[in-house]
Symmetry: C2
Amino acid sequence: MNNKLLVLGTMAYDAIESPFGKTGKILGGCATYIGLAASQFKIDCGLVSVIGDDFETAHTDLLTQKGLDLSGVATIAGEKTFFWSGKYHNDLNIRTTLDTQLNVLTKFDPKVPEQFKDASIVLLGNLDPNIQGAVLDQMKAPKLVVMDTMNFWIESYREKLDEVVGRVDVLSINDEEARQLTDTHSLVEAAKQLQALGPRYVIIKKGEHGALLFHENKIFCAPGLPLEEVFDPTGAGDSFIGGFAGYLSQRGKITFDEMKTAVIMGSAMASFTVQKFGTECLETLTREQLHQRILAFKSLSEFELT
Amino acid sequence: MNNKLLVLGTMAYDAIESPFGKTGKILGGCATYIGLAASQFKIDCGLVSVIGDDFETAHTDLLTQKGLDLSGVATIAGEKTFFWSGKYHNDLNIRTTLDTQLNVLTKFDPKVPEQFKDASIVLLGNLDPNIQGAVLDQMKAPKLVVMDTMNFWIESYREKLDEVVGRVDVLSINDEEARQLTDTHSLVEAAKQLQALGPRYVIIKKGEHGALLFHENKIFCAPGLPLEEVFDPTGAGDSFIGGFAGYLSQRGKITFDEMKTAVIMGSAMASFTVQKFGTECLETLTREQLHQRILAFKSLSEFELT
């Protein structure tokens, strides 16, 4: 295995309202969050995405300075970057989309840069399954294909979605999506059905309640870090999977034990993201802060047998 | 500390409907579940409760055979035992009460048997706070007072409830109750407010998502064991707190580390209870089965730091 991680996802501008305030147009998109989280690890991480010519140089600079390779990010002249605006309600688990402007996304023809075609790990962010499939077609036998959350695509693109899911090793989705996809309430049963579609590993994200990792008949449960304040849940799932894949890519080993720690890394990343608006927390995160948080996760769930 | 555990709670008959079936009149009541769970440990456990003369000898025999002391259980002649009937909906998190017949409960004047007045641990099950207070008044300086769930009493008995909560060391409630009591969504904030009322330890039960234990500034998170099938959630909370208090009573030590393991014991007990209707699973549970389940909890949440 090499330490290359190829990430497919959106780069976007968001406008977010939460009970704690309101942002103007801020940096967003799943590839952005995934990249920032993955940049905490010693890996080669390349993004495949698309932006308009309104995308600010300050933002590409930020990502480049984090060591991310943007040669797979296409700019479409005369078009605007994908825009999403949403509002979180009081309990922060419910959000309403106020506006979605696909813009450049409608013309996205993903091109994997030559130097990333042999990446050992491919991470497919929340996007049209046709685009996810097109990226997989360009890869040379990756060791691990990870696919994240695809709420929007479940209803209208089910057939194509199932086809891509069949090519995936790790499927990471949230509890609602898992139930929607499998039409069952039990997450254990849902995970079984999802594994039967192809993925050897299934991660079910439960928001503040943590995440479950399923593999064969084994289950690992990562706790949700109880936080005094959650500011903005945007990007939590993306940060999670970015931390997960970044860690595995650095380790260069795919075992259930490595996966467990990777799920904790992802959970830690998500716990940082929600503490500030947008990408603010990830932008300044240090390795020492990450390490301290991982220790917090460890002490949170450790107990003695007597 | 001695190994005596005094339990206050109801003994009842229940009739339960769940998506998996329907029971006739079966044994129920929080003291019953608590006692059965606590009977897994090497302790002296006495129940303070009240029954009518319709309570079957087979059921008192069952509890006595488990080693439970029933000398604090009063029988009121000519009256019927407390009866509750409820229905669980498809996702099992929502239940509707179909019928409640208080019967003997309206005449309950709790008497702590002489030999249990010096019990080191007192567990107050879900009951009228006036009755809980009356039991505490009869105890000789217990080392640990544990109070469980009191949904029903929050609205109408708030003042008395707060008074009893002020005399408690461990408060165990579910997430909804915690939010209702403190008028906040954040469980961390809720736990802080609850600790300020008196309890040094606060446990927030989150159903299938496990439980959180708060003490000073420390938090422990017990995972929920992902189960393929949940048959009947009745008594899960009671079994939880019975396992928790039973374990602590056997250990004879009150530290945060002991509390953590106690929360896992409680979680294991609850996980058994929900797998069959009513008390069926607890009635036949062996120590070896319990031990195996504790190991399952350990492997569920353990991960390596690299």
